[in-house]
């Protein structure tokens, strides 16, 4: 059971940690000062949430959360590819966040019914904080969708790029069947697709972006992030993420 739970906790923690790091790359570079604060707050939230999941893992296996966050090799990471992609332009950042936040919202709702009580219990706490992320993303999406010319082009390009990686969010890691059988995961991730598609369509269609609402979930044939296979972009990110930690692993922060 421990191995199965470990996969669930790691994939969730890694999504949050890696996106949080990408968000933090905007600190001091966001389009304007209020947004700089907003995206930095999002980064803080995501990284804090990763630490909550890693703490649950620590309680279960005794592994050190800092070492898990900073020292795991790429093949031990379980985040989806969507989260490790470089931050791109502002349109990409907004679209990726919305696509992920919708997925995360659905995942949290299912995890709230997990038979692993410690996980189900913290989920309510996290949901309350995440609701502000979606509100923020929705506002930006509306704003960008009203733009013309270059703004519109960038938005469309971002939507296409994000959609290529969205199926990877629903990829299933090792032990999913066992996790479902034991109720640790109330449903299989691929069954969350319809909910995601509906929520995504609900946002995009009123903005005239219905062309970017996919019908079917086409899971990639080759293994992806949930199975430990990553792009070089993650390796680069991990170098930056762990640089300070590696300089003195014994330091207390």
């Amino acid at each position: 059971m421990k191995d199965v739970l470990r996969e669930i906790l790691l994939s969730t923690a890694d999504d949050e940690l890696i996106l949080g790091h990408r968000d933090s790359e905007w600190t001091a570079f966001a389009p304007f000062i209020e947004e700089d604060i907003a995206i930095s707050s999002l980064a803080q939230d995501e990284i804090a949430h990763a630490s909550v999941y890693l703490q649950l893992l620590h309680d279960l296996t005794g592994e050190d959360p800092d070492r898990l966050a900073f020292l795991r090799e790429p093949e031990e990471r379980r985040n989806a590819w969507l989260l490790e992609r470089p931050k791109g332009d502002w349109a990409y950042t907004v679209v990726r966040h919305v696509a992920y936040d919708l997925f995360d919202d659905i995942r949290l709702r299912h995890l709230a019914r997990s038979s692993f009580r410690p996980l189900a219990e913290v989920v309510e706490r996290l949901q309350r904080e995440e609701s502000y992320h979606l509100a923020h993303g929705r506002l930006w999406l509306e704003r960008l969708a009203q733009g013309k010319g270059e703004a519109r082009q960038r938005l469309e390009k971002a939507l296409s790029a994000v959609l290529e990686d969205v199926p990877g969010l629903f990829e299933e890691g090792a032990g999913v069947e066992e996790a479902v059988a034991q109720g640790l995961l109330p449903t299989r991730p691929r069954q969350w697709w319809e909910e995601w598609r509906e929520a995504w369509g609900g946002l995009l269609i009123p903005l005239g972006l219905g062309a970017w609402v996919p019908e079917e979930l086409s899971l990639p044939a080759a293994p992806g992030g949930r199975q430990g296979r990553h792009t070089d972009q993650l390796e680069e990110l991990l170098g930056a993420l762990s640089e300070v930690y590696r300089s003195d692993p014994a330091a207390a922060w």
Partner: protein, 154 residues
């Protein structure tokens, strides 16, 4: 014992809001005392809030002053979830005194507007959802023309 502890903990203020104490903020969930060991369970407002370690240290320091207490253990718990509904009436007044609009009580949301902590007008608009700390948003009062902060509802 619980009452003594609570009275003492009213001296511990939120490091980011010096008028607000942690009891009225609703942080204290459980107090247990047995054979010289005092255990205090606190609920963090936001997960991973950078003020948590400061609060923990102050609580430990204060609680160790109580008679008969030999050992203090402070623990942060995520369950039950802290919500802004845990802030007491006094806590709301303390927030207001610091110039932060308190979160609206659950029944008033989202119908009622946000009240400016300076002039009391409800003619305020949201300027930025994220403020100087993760738990605050920034509003602008169209009546007295001041920007002000408001604690988010959670």
């Amino acid at each position: 014992m619980r009452d003594d502890v609570l009275a003492l903990l009213k001296e511990v203020k939120d490091p980011e809001i010096p008028t607000l104490n942690i009891v009225d903020l609703g942080l204290v969930e459980e107090v247990r005392f047995q054979k010289g060991r005092l255990e205090i369970d606190l609920l963090p407002t936001f997960t991973g809030c950078p003020a948590l370690d400061i609060i923990r240290e102050e609580v430990e320091e204060k609680a160790s002053l109580l008679p008969d207490v030999e050992e203090v253990a402070v623990r942060f718990r995520l369950s039950p979830a802290w919500t802004t509904d845990r802030i007491t009436e006094e806590g709301r007044a303390q927030l207001q005194a610091f110039g932060i609009a308190p979160p609206r009580p659950p029944k008033a949301r989202p119908v009622e507007g946000v009240t400016c902590p300076y002039c009391g007008s409800s003619d305020a608009i949201l300027e930025a959802a994220f403020g100087p700390t993760r738990c605050r948003s920034i509003y602008y009062c169209r009546s007295c023309r001041n920007p002000f902060e408001k604690m988010k509802e959670l």
